[in-house]
Amino acid sequence: MAQQSDGIGGLKYDKSKKAWPNEFNIFIALILIVAIFEALGQILPYMNGQSFLFDTQDRFDTIFNEARLRIIILQVAIIGIISLGVTQVIISGGIDLSSGPLVAATAMIVMSFAQTELVNGNPNPKAVFGPWAFDLPIIVPIIVGLAFGAMIGAINGTFIAFTRIPPFIATLGMFLICRGIAQWWTRGQPVSFPTEAYAWIGSGMMPVIWFILLAILCHVLLRYTVYGKHTYAIGSNEDAARMSGINVKRHKVLVYMIASMLAAFAAIVLSSKNLTAQSGMGLFYELFAIAMAVIGGISLTGGRGSIIGTVLGAMVFGVIQSGFTYVKLDAYFQLMAMGAIIIGAVVLDQWRQQRAASRS
């Protein structure tokens, strides 16, 4: 029984009536999945009683298997950054398929502005531009990358908002265009040997730090600002949003720009981490980013989802990937199982939504 309130007609904000947050379910799912892998480690005969999560061999001072945790977080951090943007796009009722190739194109372009002149005393063998582009301050490649991302996002958003092309088609086109740009930039040659400062961006655990910082920023944007409220409103009921005086078209352009800038930043981190950029980079990233958001409880019809959910979705994604390797599942089966899990997550979520709807 909810607490009785003293306002007229029960008009009081009643915390006890607040719905069970969806994110909590994903968190429970995350714990369950870890427990399953832990159990598999004990049950499967070829695992010799290894532990998934805990450190049983005293390699570290902590009780957890720090190496595995690090790998899990590091693995999802970069796609996770993309996923933060994809989440906003999907909440606004759209979809962005272009983020993977955008990562490749941005990485190629950015890396060209981040090259160092001398590699072990020899001239840089992978130089794209002339001497003017060597050893530029770190801010140059970052600005170039973000500007390129913003441009691609603006094109995506403008087409979707002003020509009524379905987001799926517009970003599918951009998917091919960006992959083309990535290959055309150096005619397929990789771009390598960045400056030391640039290499710092993605070194060690830096991708995780960027992911966490950007996740907090995006969470604040979506939850506490007008931008976020309008993003949800447009995804929930575009006509209502328009009728309320929200500039829906301009807002859509803004959402796609932010998403593409996040993907561009992911490209900067990834190329810095790999110390090279290749035109084939970011394969399946757009789909994995969407999958993280979907596991995180986002609604593909818009209006529902959160950054916390997506971050948890990314963790689930990473744990499953790491767990499959841990139980020595063949790489072929890993992709298949991943696909099945994504479908399962959506089915489960829809079933839960229907149940919630019929209860009220």
Binding site: Y13, K17, Y227
Partner: protein
């Protein structure tokens, strides 16, 4: 009828002259001359297809009229869309509700006009949740709307609660003219009473209203004047105090037509 001069409308908030809408060969609305005074509540009645909703759609810019004039607040107006009309001060609650299902009551009430702080952040300015929640409670209390928990999302609410939120939203805008198209059509007894309370509140505040309704009791209870449509034409303009239900029904069904509206083509 057209002795009133343009731009000199006195206490008239809305006037239509010869307002006409044809859909191809269908004459959905024909030569509607209509006047609404400030603070006045007028009901529009008529059978299905009589032209009531068509009439409202021409005023609110949902559709573009074939012919005629709409004069609102002293100016001839031509709204390109409902947003235009809303900006000019005409608030309409339509049969299909314009609420965002995934947002809660304060979010919907303040959609597009949020209370914010740190406004220098532009589109990223922060929302004043506390202020909006308080104002929502005040607005709902003033209109007597009962919603158990305002933090509930619209999708978890009953049809009546949704309608109440939509109407409370409209009422809280302090618009120059409110139009409600069958606001209680799908509601239960209690919810209907709530909506009627909101309408009475609007009357007390002196805000003019056009109410489309099939509910005779409701109309007789709430409005000052009843305008009857039949076959796309206005056939009667009745003061509530000088008429009764049977009389109105006679006009609706076509048994009677007021002499000044008795034009050729209306039988």
């Amino acid at each position: 009828m057209s002795g009133i001069e343009l731009h000199d409308m006195g206490d008239i908030i809305l006037e239509t002259r010869d307002l006409t809408k044809h859909y191809g060969g269908v004459h959905a609305l024909e030569g509607a001359d209509f006047i609404l005074r400030k603070g006045e509540h007028v009901a529009i009645m008529g059978d299905n297809g009589a032209g009531k909703s068509t009439f409202v759609r021409q005023i609110t810019g949902v559709e573009q009229r074939t012919r005629g004039e709409v004069i609102f607040d002293g100016h001839p107006v031509h709204f390109d869309g409902p947003l235009d009309a809303r900006k000019a001060g005409i608030e309409a609650v339509f049969q299909t509700l314009a609420l965002a299902d995934h947002l809660d009551v304060p979010d919907n009430l303040f959609l597009g006009r949020e209370k914010t702080f740190m406004n220098w952040l532009g589109p990223f300015r922060f929302l004043d949740y506390k202020g909006m929640r308080q104002d929502t409670l005040d607005a709902l209390q003033k209109t007597g709307v009962k919603i158990p928990n305002i933090r509930n999302t619209i999708q978890n609410m009953s049809g009546g609660q949704r309608q109440c939120v939509a109407i409370a939203r409209t009422a809280s805008f302090h618009s120059k003219l409110t139009i409600m198209d069958e606001p209680t059509a799908a509601l239960g007894v209690q919810e209907t009473a709530q909506v009627e309370n909101i309408i009475r509140t609007l009357k007390e505040q002196g805000e003019p209203l056009i109410l489309i309704s099939h509910n005779m009791r409701q109309v007789m209870d709430l409005v000052d004047r009843i305008v009857v449509f039949r076959r796309g034409r206005i056939v009667a303009n009745l003061n509530r105090d000088e008429t009764d239900g049977q009389d109105v029904v006679a006009y609706i069904t076509g048994a009677k037509t007021q002499p000044e509206y008795d034009v050729e083509g209306v039988t």
